[in-house]
Symmetry: C2
Subunit: 151 residues, 2 copies
């Protein structure tokens, strides 16, 4: 009985560990998905401020960007994921892993501008939203230039 | 000069329209990505309540789920996307399109439970978070049973 309990406990510990340590392929798939969701929603904000503006739609889109941007993206870039395939081969440059301070600063800037976009979206001032979207996209571009292969 | 302006205006109008009407493949890719992000974050909440609990991590994960769940998923299922391929062939059942009221109710239940999880996460009561995660996952399963092919 004691042995069974020990085995069960070990299995449960393994299960918990497995849950906490997803495979590199899964992590890459998640991060590729997260950036797709960000792209979907920045496109929505842009379509609103360049075309027909809907305040609620912009708020929803900006809230989604802010949540994903600040929701733990760095945890999807552990050391085991410099190369590998999620939905497709990862586009990450090795510099993201070698330049931890720079990558953290780029991520922080992105999260900050995303939060600001969510704040500005609440106000409903289209020109201000447009300006803040541009500020956000500058942080996207900066990070892509430094840490993503253009392929 | 006038002609050039008209052509430019027409091109800009086309660009705006293109922006507002993404291709079915893109919409399917975005929705597949959105559900991956949801899966990533429900897994994070589960790992926290079953393993080592970190309040801030659960709050971030729950906020992301709530934002994506309420961020406009139905707009990624327009009539042109009953079939098609995003990252992979869509898993959606035709019933999602024929049973609009049922699909809307399933989506509303999902959004409601996701908001409740974000609320409960703030409290930091692990048992309550666990119970609410189960309530949320029940709405995931209900929707999958009715509107997603298991493949």
């Amino acid at each position: 009985m004691k042995r069974l309990l020990i085995i069960t406990a070990a299995l449960l510990a393994n299960a918990a560990q497995a849950q906490q340590a997803p495979k590199p392929e899964q992590l890459i798939k998640w991060r590729q998905s997260a950036y797709q969701v960000i792209g979907w929603n920045t496109g929505r904000v842009k379509a609103n401020v360049d075309g027909t503006y809907n305040k609620d739609d912009v708020i929803r889109a900006a809230n989604t960007i802010a949540a994903v941007a600040n929701g733990g993206l760095p945890s999807l870039f552990p050391a085991s994921t410099e190369t590998g395939k999620g939905w497709h081969d990862t586009s990450v440059k090795p510099t993201l892993f070698s330049d931890a301070a720079g990558a953290a600063a780029a991520q922080a800037a992105f999260g900050k501008e995303a939060n600001e976009l969510a704040r500005v979206a609440q106000g409903g001032d289209v020109a201000a939203i447009k300006a803040q979207l541009a500020a956000l996209q500058k942080t996207c571009k900066a990070c892509h230039d430094d840490y993503r292969n253009s392929n």
